[in-house]
Symmetry: C2
C-alpha cells in the first residue's frame, strides 16, 4: 500500500453474490448479517485476515450490505450483526495491514469505516431499521467499535467473551472508528471507567460490562441467539417501515473510467493532473419527475435523485482513495433548474414515503461525505448550470464559490442563476446537525428564515451575492483570471495545512457525536499515526507480533 | 530548544518591573497594555523578535499582566491592547523560533498562549474587565489571534493596516492560537469568506474587514486612539467592578526547587523519575478562614485559596514545560476537610465580592489547565487527606482515582473520606462548560442533583464508590499492589496514545469555543506540526525566509 500507484484502483462497487466476508440472511422483518472473514481475502497482499479482522475490502462489503438493506429490503426493521466464527466476534482492523499501510491509506480507511458506522446509526434513528449486535466471542478494537455503532449490544456471558479497546496498550494508537467518542458521548460511560477500560488489553466481560454501560445485557451463550431475536422483535414492533411492499434493486452502477475521465449517467468528472484538480459536473434531470411515490418506485435506481446519489457517492470514494494528489474538487452543474426544483418538490412533498425517505437520507449521507473530505472544494456557477435545491447544496458545501455575473462573449445562453428549494432548509444537515444554510449564516440566523420566502426565485449573480449565497461574482472581464488564479493558488498551498484549515472552518456552531468523531478523535488519531511511538521502526504498530518490544520516546507532547 | 535538558528551566514568574516587551499604563478605569517587543529579548538564543513577533517569554509577560490587572486593579474595567511600534501591531509568533523548536515545545507554547487568550475572554465575560484592541499597524497571524481574543477590534483605516492569518499560504501550518475557531465560532465570519481570508497573505483591510466581521470598526489613524478610548468608556460604564477599593498585590510567589522536589506554601511536588511520575500534594488550610470579604482582602495573597491557585498554576506550567518526560501526575491532599469546607463556604457565600469572584475564577482557570494538560492524572485518596470541595475537584479532574477502603496496618489515623461542598456544583466548569460532576454523570444527570443533598457529609470509600465519585476502592490488602500496578502500567504505554485517549475521554458532552480550540484545532495543528510539508527539510516552516521554495508532498491525507 506504500506504492498505491502501481495497483489497480479500489472499486467500491460490489453486490451480495460477490461478498467474501459477510453473509446476509433474512427472516421476515429481521435480517442477520454474519461476519465471516476469509483469511486469504485481503484487498491487498501481505496480510491474513485472521480472527475476523478486517481491511478496506471487508468494510466495502459491509457498506454495500447496509445500502441494500435500506433500499432493497423495506420489510427489514431490525438487523442483527453477529459472527460466523467459533470463539471470536471480531478482532478489529487488521494490524499487519495497518502497519504496512501508508499514512494516507490509514487515514482514508478510518474515514470510510467511520462513515459506514455513522450510517448504521442513521439507519436506526432515521430509517426505522434498528441495528443490534450479538457478541458471540472476543470483541476487540474495531470489533467493539462496530458493536458500539449498533443500538443494542447483547453479549455472551461465558467466562471468556469480552469487549475491549486494546489499541492504546497494545498498539500505541487510538481506537480509530469512533470508539472513544461513542464510549463517553453515546453510551455515556463514566470517564474514569472509560479510562480504565481503554487501558486493559483483555477488556471487560460479564456483569461489569453491563454495570459500566459497555454492553446492554449479558446472557448465557446458549440463549444469545434467542435473546437477540427477542430484542430484534421489539425493535420491529416499533418500526415505521412498510410491510408488503417491494424494494428497489440497486442495479450495477454504470461507470466508465477512461484516462482522466470518470463518467456516470448523472455525473461526470474530468481530472486535470497538471492543475491538481477534478472538475465534477452533476447533470440535472433530463425529464420531469413522476407524479407520485409509486412512480418513484417504478423508476427505482433510474430515478434521478437516487442515480445522482449513487454516482456522487461512488465518485467521492473513488477520488478519495485512488486520486490522492488531486487536492481540489471543482463542482459544476449542467441542466435545467426548473426540473431540479420539480424533483426537489417531490422529495419534499413525499417525504413520508419509505423510499423517498431513503433517497433523501442517501443524498444527505453523500453530501456529508463531501463535507468531511480532505479536499478543497470550489463551486463554479456559469451559464447552463442548474444550482438549484439539492444541487445548490454542492455550492453551499464548497469552501468558496464563484458565480459569473452576466455572460461570456459569444455565449448565447442566459446568465447563470441559482434557486432555493425546500430541500435547502433542513433535510440535508451537515455532521454538525445544521443545514448548510444555517451553518453559513451563524452570525445572522434570521437570514435563513428570510430566504425561505425566496424559494423558487431565480437569483442572478447580484441577487445571490446580496443574499450571501455565493462568495465571489466576477464579471466577464475578470472571470477567467479570477477563477484561474484561485485554482492556481490553492494548488500551491500545503495539502496538509489546507486539510486542517478546512476541517476547522467548515463546521462552525454546535458539535455532535459525528462531528466529534471526524474532528477531535480523527485529528488526534492522525497525529498519532504520524508519531514514531506508533509508526517508527520501534513503534508499537510496527513491532506488534514480532516479539520485539516497543521503544517509546517518553516525552509528553 | 531541541536540547531543552541543558537549559535552565523556564520560569513563569515575573512582574511589571521586569517586563521587557509590554508596558502597562493606567488612566482611572482604563488600562492600556502596549506591546513593544525587544528584538534581542528572546527567551532562547537563535532568533530576533522583529516586528513585535513573540515567543514564550513575551507571552509569559502578557499572562502576568493579565493576572495583575485582575487582582491588583479592581478599578480597571477596560483594557486597551495596542502596539508601541510604528507601523506594525504584531506579526504573530516568531517564525524562526517555531522553525527551530522541537515538536513538544511548539505544542506546549501554543497551549499556553491559548490559555492566556481564553483568560482574556474570561476577564471580559466574567470579571467586568473588557479587553479591546486598537490595531495600529500590520496585524498578522498570532497578532490577529490576540485581537480576536478581545471583544472589540478597532483598526486604523490608513490604506496599509490590515488583519491577516497568513499561516496557511506562508508557513503551511495553522493559526495556532484559536484563530480559525474564533473566526467562524466567535465572530461567526461566513465560512467561505473565512476560507478566502485565511489564504490571502496580505489579509483584509478597511471597509471589507468590517463588512466581513473581521474587525468591528475602522477609523482614520488620527482617530484610532480616541475611538479606542471612547469604546473603552462604554465598556467601563457597563462594568460591575468596584470603584474606590484597593487591590491585592500578587507578591512574589515563593517556590523552592530542590533536586526533584518543588515546594510552595500550599503545594508540594515530588518527582519520581524512575517511575515517570510527579506526586503533587495540595495542602489544606492551616487555620479557619476570615469571617468576611474584608478579611479576605486583608489576607491578600496569603488567603489560602488564592495561594493554592497560584502555586498549582505555577507548578502545572513548570511541569508541562520543564518536565516533559514525567507523564503521570498523582494528586494527593493533606489536611483537614472541615477547614477546606469552611473556605469553600466563604467562596460560595461571598461570590458577589469582586476579590472572591477573582479567586474563584483563578481556581477555575487553574483546574481547566489541569484538564487540558497532556499528562495522565490519577488521584490517590488516603487517610490524612482532605479531598473536600475545591480540592475534591482534583480527584474529579483525574482520569481515575484510587481511594483506600479502611486504614493501613500501623496507621492510627481515621480512614479517608471525601466531602462535597457547593463549590463542586458549578463554579468550576471544565472547558466543555459543564462542572466536573456533570461531566462525570452524563448518563445520569439526576445524580448531580441527588448529590447536592449530601453536601458536607463525610463519605468513606464505600459511600464514595456507591455515589460514583471514585473509581476504585481497594482495601488494605490490595491497596499497595493495585496502585503500584496501575502506575507501572501507565508508564509503559505510549505517551502519544495516552494524550489522544485522554483528550477524547475527558470532555464528553457539549463542546464550546474553548473545547473546540483545544481539541479540534490543536489536534489538527499538532498533526500538521509533524508533517514534512511543514517541518521537513523542504517544509514551509523550515525554508521560510531562506529564499528557497517549499517542496510539498501533494498527496491529500
Amino acid at each position: 500500500m506504500d506504492s498505491d500507484v502501481t495497483r489497480p484502483p479500489v472499486d467500491f462497487r460490489t453486490e451480495p453474490s460477490r461478498y467474501r466476508h459477510w453473509r446476509l440472511a433474512f427472516d421476515g422483518p429481521v435480517a442477520t448479517l454474519t461476519m465471516d472473514v476469509q483469511e486469504e481475502g485481503g484487498l491487498r497482499p501481505g496480510y491474513e485476515l485472521k480472527l475476523n479482522s478486517y481491511d478496506l475490502g471487508v468494510d466495502i462489503e459491509l457498506y454495500d450490505a447496509l445500502q441494500r438493506l435500506r433500499f432493497e429490503h423495506p420489510e427489514v426493521c431490525a438487523v442483527i450483526v453477529t459472527s460466523g466464527k467459533d470463539r471470536v466476534f471480531c478482532a478489529g482492523a487488521n494490524i499487519r495491514m495497518l502497519s504496512q499501510a501508508a499514512h494516507g491509506w490509514k487515514v482514508n480507511f478510518c474515514k470510510f469505516t467511520n462513515e459506514t458506522r455513522n450510517a448504521i446509526e442513521e439507519a436506526t434513528t432515521e430509517s426505522g431499521q434498528t441495528w443490534l449486535c450479538a457478541v458471540n466471542g472476543a470483541c476487540a478494537g474495531g470489533g467493539y467499535e462496530l458493536a458500539l455503532a449498533t443500538d443494542w449490544i447483547v453479549m455472551a456471558d461465558d467466562g471468556t467473551t469480552a469487549v475491549s479497546l486494546p489499541e492504546v496498550p497494545l498498539l500505541a494508537v487510538l481506537p480509530g472508528t469512533g470508539g472513544l467518542t461513542r464510549l463517553v458521548d453515546k453510551r455515556r460511560v463514566r470517564r474514569d471507567r472509560a479510562d480504565f477500560f481503554c487501558t486493559v488489553e483483555e477488556g471487560v466481560k460479564g456483569k461489569r460490562a453491563v454495570e459500566w454501560g459497555l454492553v446492554d445485557e449479558v446472557v448465557p451463550r446458549s440463549r444469545l441467539e434467542e435473546t437477540a431475536r427477542l430484542r430484534a422483535g421489539e425493535f420491529v414492533a416499533r418500526s415505521d417501515r412498510p410491510a408488503g411492499v417491494r424494494g428497489v434493486a440497486l442495479t450495477p452502477l454504470e461507470r466508465r473510467l477512461e484516462g482522466d475521465r470518470v463518467t456516470y449517467g448523472t455525473v461526470t468528472c474530468a481530472i486535470d493532473r497538471a492543475r491538481g484538480l477534478a472538475e465534477i459536473t452533476a447533470l440535472g434531470p433530463a425529464s420531469p419527475p413522476p407524479a407520485d411515490a409509486a412512480g418513484v418506485l417504478a423508476l427505482g435506481a433510474g430515478f434521478w435523485p437516487l442515480a445522482l446519489a449513487r454516482a456522487l457517492d461512488d465518485l467521492i470514494l473513488h477520488l478519495r482513495t485512488n486520486e490522492e494528489t488531486i487536492g481540489l474538487w471543482v463542482f459544476k452543474t449542467a441542466g435545467r433548474a426548473d426540473l431540479v426544483e420539480a424533483y426537489d418538490r417531490l422529495l419534499d412533498e413525499r417525504a413520508g414515503d419509505w423510499l423517498v425517505r431513503e433517497i433523501r437520507l442517501y443524498l444527505r449521507r453523500t453530501l456529508k461525505r463531501i463535507d468531511v473530505s480532505s479536499r478543497s472544494i470550489f463551486a463554479v456557477i456559469e451559464p447552463g448550470s442548474c444550482f438549484a435545491g439539492t444541487l445548490l447544496e454542492l455550492a453551499l458545501a464548497a469552501d468558496r464559490s464563484y458565480m459569473l455575473d452576466g455572460t461570456l462573449p459569444g455565449d448565447g445562453r442566459p446568465e447563470a442563476t441559482i434557486r432555493l428549494t425546500p430541500m435547502n432548509f433542513g433535510p440535508y444537515p451537515m455532521v454538525n446537525g445544521l443545514s448548510r444554510l444555517a451553518s453559513r449564516f451563524l452570525a445572522e440566523p434570521g437570514r435563513v428564515d428570510d430566504l425561505k420566502g425566496r424559494i423558487g426565485e431565480d437569483l442572478d449573480a447580484g441577487a445571490a451575492a446580496e443574499a450571501g449565497l455565493v462568495t465571489f461574482t466576477p464579471d466577464d472581464i475578470d472571470w477567467e483570471d479570477e477563477v484561474r488564479i484561485a485554482v492556481e493558488e490553492r494548488a500551491a498551498f500545503s495539502p496538509d495545512a489546507l486539510t486542517g484549515m478546512e476541517a476547522s472552518l467548515r463546521f462552525g456552531g454546535p458539535e455532535t457525536l459525528e462531528s466529534k468523531i471526524f474532528a477531535r478523535l480523527s485529528a488526534w488519531q492522525n497525529w498519532i499515526f504520524q508519531r514514531p511511538n506508533a509508526v517508527g521502526a520501534k513503534g508499537a504498530l510496527q513491532v506488534y507480533g514480532t516479539g520485539e518490544r516497543s521503544d517509546f520516546d517518553r516525552r509528553r507532547v
